[in-house]
Symmetry: C3
């Protein structure tokens, strides 16, 4: 998320940590590693990810070890980067429970059709000719472009399922992002599209989702994709344009589905998939390979009897 421009010194003061680098360097945002831009604060608390964080677009890195500071960046040395990052996002985006059916600073275009029992959070923009069916719940910081349709009892922009295991139990990362549904997106009934942790979860223009679909935080879905009912997509997934996922497909986090990928029903996606190909199985493979395996399995019992 973007914040009002401040300095590394002021950020470090909020969490009471020492700086390596340039105290008066400008800070313009706070973001989780999947969504960082120049001017952002990011955090890292595991040696495995040090390089990724230090070499990312982020300008300020909250880190739990004194390492060499990359050029034109600053480090903030913290005993508990996760907690300090959470403290910062809460500082700049405090949790404000919603007592009215439409939150503060939310703009609803007069041409929008809102059915009964709809709830819309703070700082949202509901565009021209949007239709929200009965019981829809929209969280904070959601943007619904022109002609978006959201089906009954669907939930857009609930907080991310993102926890850090500690001795005392699971500690949740504070969500301060939102969801952006581009124009002509249609979402069915009883879907959940989680907010980005600090950035936006995005559904591209003209994409159509059936009922009971789950899209995790910070996932980006391209244009003109089609997802059948009961599909579950984890967080931090990149789905390009014209991708088709059939019923009950599941997709693990941090993978990329290139343009024009088709995945057949009930398949499980654990790795990135190549453009224009069709996949099947759990874990999935290219259909030709998978169907050959299935045909071979059919012959297996007889083969074993022979041997």
């Amino acid at each position: 998320m973007k914040i009002k421009q401040t300095t590394v010194e002021e950020i470090a003061a909020i969490i009471n940590c020492p700086i390596i680098g340039t105290p008066d360097q400008m800070v313009t945002g706070i973001n989780e590693i999947h969504q960082v831009e120049a001017g952002d604060v990011v955090f890292v608390d595991h040696p495995k990810y040090y390089d990724k964080a230090l070499n990312s677009a982020a300008t300020i890195i909250i880190i739990d070890k004194e390492v060499t500071c990359p050029k034109r960046k600053s480090l903030i040395i913290s005993q508990a980067p996760f907690d300090d990052y959470n403290k910062l996002t809460r500082h700049f985006s405090p949790y404000k429970p919603q007592t009215t059916v439409v939150g503060e600073n939310t703009i609803i275009d007069p041409s929008a059709t809102i059915y009964p029992n709809v709830t819309i959070g703070h700082n949202c923009t509901i565009g021209k000719n949007v239709t929200l069916y009965a019981g829809v719940v929209i969280g904070d910081k959601c943007i619904l472009d022109k002609s978006v349709i959201v089906g009954p009892n669907t939930v857009i922009g609930h907080y991310a399922f993102y926890y850090k295991k500690k001795d005392s139990g699971y500690d949740r990362m504070h969500t301060c992002g939102g969801v952006h549904l581009h124009k002509n997106v249609e979402i069915g009934a009883l879907c959940t599209i989680d907010a980005g942790v600090s950035g936006m979860t995005v559904i591209g223009e003209g994409t159509k989702l059936d009922n009971q679909i789950q899209i995790g935080h910070d996932t980006t879905v391209g244009k003109h994709c089609l997802m059948a009912a009961n599909v579950g997509v984890a967080g931090c997934v990149t789905i390009k344009d014209n991708v088709t996922l059939w019923g009950q497909v599941g997709c693990a986090s941090d993978v990329t589905l290139e343009d024009g990928v088709t995945v057949l029903a009930q398949s499980g996606i654990g790795k990135s998939l190549e453009a224009g190909k069709t996949y099947f199985g759990s874990p999935c493979d290219v259909v030709r390979v998978k169907f050959r395996e299935l045909a071979a399995i059919k012959k297996l019992p007889e083969l074993i009897e022979k041997i």
Copy 2:
């Protein structure tokens, strides 16, 4: 759907298309190919389905080629049958957003129990002793017979997930059908049962659905069926009586499950299934065959090492 009786000439005038056949022939309905009856208008826009449409029960066929007109039928020649069909259904069943919690022309029997935050659409009939739990959303043209129970936040009769791909993106078929739940049907919490495109999606007498189940448009489920949680059934499926589907089963469109079929958990149904048999697997097969395959696979690693 049934319409006020009119003529082929008047239908053709609405969409401004030429007729081959009998201009003063009577038209009594408009239906999608899965639900056609005599007197109906249907459309076809692909040579692969010409014969099916021309030989269907429909009396008037909107078609994109000048073919020989079958006896006692009429053709309407259209450059874009899908669009013209959509124009007709919108003409006879205009979309009317719902601003009140109970729509127009909806009849609710006084013996029905309606929990808080329930929304019911236009032209519905809610029968004797029906129970609608909190947050239920019922769309237009739904019929709930005697003693039906619908669980919290379930959505009955949302529009069909039915799109035609065009250069400009996916174009939705206008839904003008509904859902018919027969007596003693019980639907759990957070289920979705989509409306028929032009006819009715039907759940037969005494059938019980657990939570989080999806039933697609124009699907017909028989009497005394049982479906466990997270089952997903696509559109245009025919499920006969006494069928049991266990948890997370998925079923593709256009298949038939005969009387007394049982399908074990997580199975995927891609083909029609035979009466009284039990199936397992994704794609599923008769249990005996499937369990034999599973047993063979268990022996496979050792077998490969030997060879």
Copy 3:
């Protein structure tokens, strides 16, 4: 469930059945076989389960055959134990539809945050700092301890999916239990956690559930478990502490998942799983075994061509 203390004689009078045993023996509860304690009435109507019921903790057994009465217990002989048990639970826990958004005898701590359109049933306790997001539906007899969070449109405590097949169709067991969410439990959006039939469905301290998760009646989940989206757990399952279930995992009823079990995405659990092990597949097996099978299957088509 606990009932006001009464005698075997009074219980038998309600259902008009003869007693073998001690008419003035004390009765303190009515429970289904999975949840019985001393002082409870239980029922059994199948010879297969006679021994289990007679040797259970229950003190009074409604049974459809005159068998030898165990020491310090009483039998009530019934032609239809299921119906008579249902009659008893309805007698002591009559169904009372809810017309207000908060039911009778429900206590909500003033520190709780309740978003719009929330419905809470009868006899519930909502603890300190609980957050209920928009559209949440809580059924009767639910207890939410300190700092519990329930996501938008989630349904807690709907009746159990538990039917007995009769000639006339499926007859539902009357649900008179509830749900207990221990402190720091977080439930995502669009989840369903069914009430216990006569006891409580329990989610242990600090456990976190993602969106669209289904937990069946009388299931017990331990402390600090993690479940990803679209997981479905059947009724009467025991999940111990620190268990992790990834996306779209399904679990059959009556099994136990020991401490620290991990089950990978889309797996199907049909048997009890051993402490600390990781499983995969449908049906699932220990990962090492399963991955070896998957690797072998990849080689199978070529192997078959050779032979």
